[in-house]
């Protein structure tokens, strides 16, 4: 199968974040960046599908400044055959503007399957994948936790709150990947070496007009410092008292 995976470069989620001097956005100084968690699951899903069904091609796409090339190389070191950078000075916070650029690029790509993470860790909108599908008139499974492709048909599972739906669809299609489908592999040394020689194309992103802008960024106020009220079962009566009288949740 010919599979496109759209990935994003996001900071390590364990980082401590600071607001940028401008007051809008994050101070990126000292942050470690990598392929976004959900995008990583999507890359792994694509690689496994092609390994199982072969022969195929996995092409990774990333929109943004030249720093995203590193993220594309990472996906290629995992096994993607080639990468495409849709070059933009900055990544807009408007998911529809991004979706338009990706749809313009992917529409004629002849892909059987286009995968995304269900959302990116940083902006966390969960918009782009589903919007690309709708722009291209393709079936879209949003936030799939299971995915099977067989004979030009796909089946997937989506978690609903307290239930799940099983769906089927024809290819070509777009699927956004939730956690649980595939744990991303670590690139092997051989993979890392090979990735350096794989083709990476860069072309300008045809972004749509950005109608959402970041006005302000804030850090949440810290929770009050925790307190230990006691040890062992002996502390249970005190806990129950506090839950009843102080927290009033019992």
């Amino acid at each position: 199968m010919k599979i496109a995976v759209c990935i994003k470069r996001t900071p390590d989620s364990e980082s401590r974040f600071k607001v940028a001097a401008s007051g809008a956005g994050i101070d990126e100084t000292g942050l470690k960046f990598d392929i976004d968690d959900f995008a990583g699951y999507a890359v792994e899903t694509a690689l496994q599908l092609n390994e199982k069904q072969g022969p195929g091609e996995t092409v990774v796409y990333a929109l943004g400044p030249d720093s995203v090339q590193e993220t594309l190389r990472k996906a290629m070191s995992m096994g993607a055959e080639r990468g495409v950078q849709l070059k933009a000075d900055a990544i807009p916070v408007d998911g529809i503007a991004i979706a338009k650029a990706l749809a313009a690029e992917l529409g004629d790509g002849g892909f059987d399957l286009i995968l995304f993470g269900k959302h990116a860790f940083d902006t966390s909108h969960g918009v782009v994948g589903t919007a690309v599908a709708d722009l291209l008139g393709l079936p879209c499974v949003t936030a799939a936790t299971q995915l099977t492709i067989e004979g030009g048909k796909g089946t997937a599972r989506r978690e609903l709150e307290g239930a799940a739906e099983l769906v089927e669809f024809s290819l070509p299609a777009v699927v956004t990947i939730d956690e649980g489908i595939a744990r991303p592999r670590y690139p092997s040394l051989k993979g890392i070496m090979a990735a350096k020689k794989k083709p990476l194309e860069s072309k300008p992103a045809q972004l749509g007009a950005a109608r959402i802008t970041m006005r302000k960024t804030e850090l949440p106020s810290d929770r009050p410092a925790g307190r230990i009220i006691g040890e062992g079962a002996a502390a249970v009566p005190e806990l129950v008292r506090l839950l009843q009288t102080e927290a009033k949740v019992l």
């Binding site: 989620s13 364990e14 974040f17 994050i26 959900f38 916070v93 408007d94 979706a99 860790f121 940083d122 966390s124 909108h125 918009v127 994948g129 589903t130 919007a131 709708d134 079936p139 879209c140 949003t142 936030a143 989506r158 978690e159 609903l160 709150e161 307290g162 239930a163 799940a164 739906e165 099983l166 769906v167 089927e168 669809f169 956690e179 649980g180 109608r211 959402i212 802008t213 970041m214 006005r215 960024t217 850090l219 949440p220 929770r223 410092a225 925790g226 307190r227 230990i228 009220i229 006691g230 040890e231 062992g232 249970v236 129950v240 506090l242 839950l243 009843q244 927290a247 949740v249 019992l250």
Partner: protein, 330 residues
């Protein structure tokens, strides 16, 4: 006057909590814009006769009822098309929906077809004027909050479940039947089955109390002490850490954390959870946090309002009896 169209989500004909929250958000938005009408669209096989009364209670002026036999399962394309058709013909300022599993799927479709921007997973409305709406939206797994300015008309806004508390703003809503746009049997995504969760099980997003278990429980079987504590509360759901769901002790859908569910219940009890950043990101906005762990250095104690250092197999059963006792005496 700027009217707001809102999608009031149902399951099995019954309005969901997120529907009232979306109507509340729409009412707030209408007030910020000078007091327009809120029109709530409900789509199901059959919509209860009391839908208008219920949605009117939270500020809907009009309830648009879409009934169709083909809505047995979620018909995402037909519902999106219906919202789009109505949004176009009604000249609305905004389309509001919940950021539930279905809302997550519908929102971008509606935005694309209206060629509107979408502010997704919104936790609050800051201000609104003729051409700009400012919303709050958390990013970086709740570690950072953004204020985003959304320009143009119309716009699509999806609101995070439980972030905006449904608030009464009673009015007598009138009902209007409208037709479903599109044919549910022609959906590109065909639902073959809906797997229902355990009967009576409360979803993590709806539960006022969550009892979550981590590796400290030592085995899948030991989750029975967590289940028992949840049962003692009566209104609790059971969650788990990523380590636990990765090991297959609990299904992935139970995972609370950065890559799982983001929850903010009234009470969160962490049992045998050390408190990895990835887990804290999913629950740190809980109102009251209790931690039970044998390691007094565990990071979870830094954010727990009430911590007990001790063996979970000793403390949790004692707490279960005490909670059952406390609830009995109510």
């Amino acid at each position: 006057m700027a009217n707001i169209l809102v999608f009031a989500e149902t399951r099995g004909g019954a309005l969901r909590k997120v529907a009232f929250e979306a109507v509340t958000a729409a009412r707030q938005l209408a007030e910020l814009l000078g007091g327009g009408e809120v029109h709530a669209l409900v789509a199901d096989v059959q919509v209860g006769a009391d839908a208008a009364t219920k949605l009117g209670q939270y500020g809907a002026d009009v309830v648009l009822v879409v009934e169709h036999a083909g809505l047995q399962q979620f018909a995402r394309e037909a519902i999106a098309a219906t919202l789009v058709e109505r949004a176009r013909s009604g000249g609305y300022r905004a389309v509001v929906l919940g950021f539930s599993a279905h809302g997550r799927d519908l929102g971008p479709r509606v935005a694309v077809r209206l060629d509107a921007p979408i502010a997704s997973d919104v936790t609050g409305l800051v201000s609104a004027s003729g051409d700009e709406i400012v919303v709050r939206h958390p990013g970086y797994a709740n570690k950072v909050f953004f204020e985003l300015t959304v320009s143009g008309t119309p716009v699509v806004i999806s609101v995070r479940p439980s972030a905006i508390t449904a608030a009464e703003a009673p009015r007598s809503a009138r009902s209007e039947a409208i037709a479903l746009a599109g044919d549910p049997s022609a959906e590109k995504i065909r639902v073959t089955e809906v797997v229902e969760g355990a009967k009576g099980k409360i979803d993590l997003g709806d539960a006022p109390v969550i009892i979550a278990g981590g590796r400290g429980l030592k085995s899948a079987d030991n989750f029975k002490i967590v289940e028992a504590l949840a049962a003692a509360f009566g209104n609790a759901a059971v969650g788990a850490t990523r380590a636990v769901t990765d090991d297959g002790w609990r299904p992935h859908s139970d995972q609370i954390g950065q890559t799982g569910r983001l929850v903010s219940p009234q009470l969160y009890i962490a049992v045998g959870i050390s408190g990895a950043i990835q887990h804290l990101a999913g629950m740190r906005t809980s109102k009251t946090i209790v931690a039970i762990n044998k390691d007094k250095e565990a990071p979870i104690f830094k954010i727990a309002d009430y911590g007990i250092v001790g063996d979970v197999f000793e403390v949790v059963p004692a707490l279960t009896s005490a909670v059952a006792e406390a609830r009995k005496s109510h």
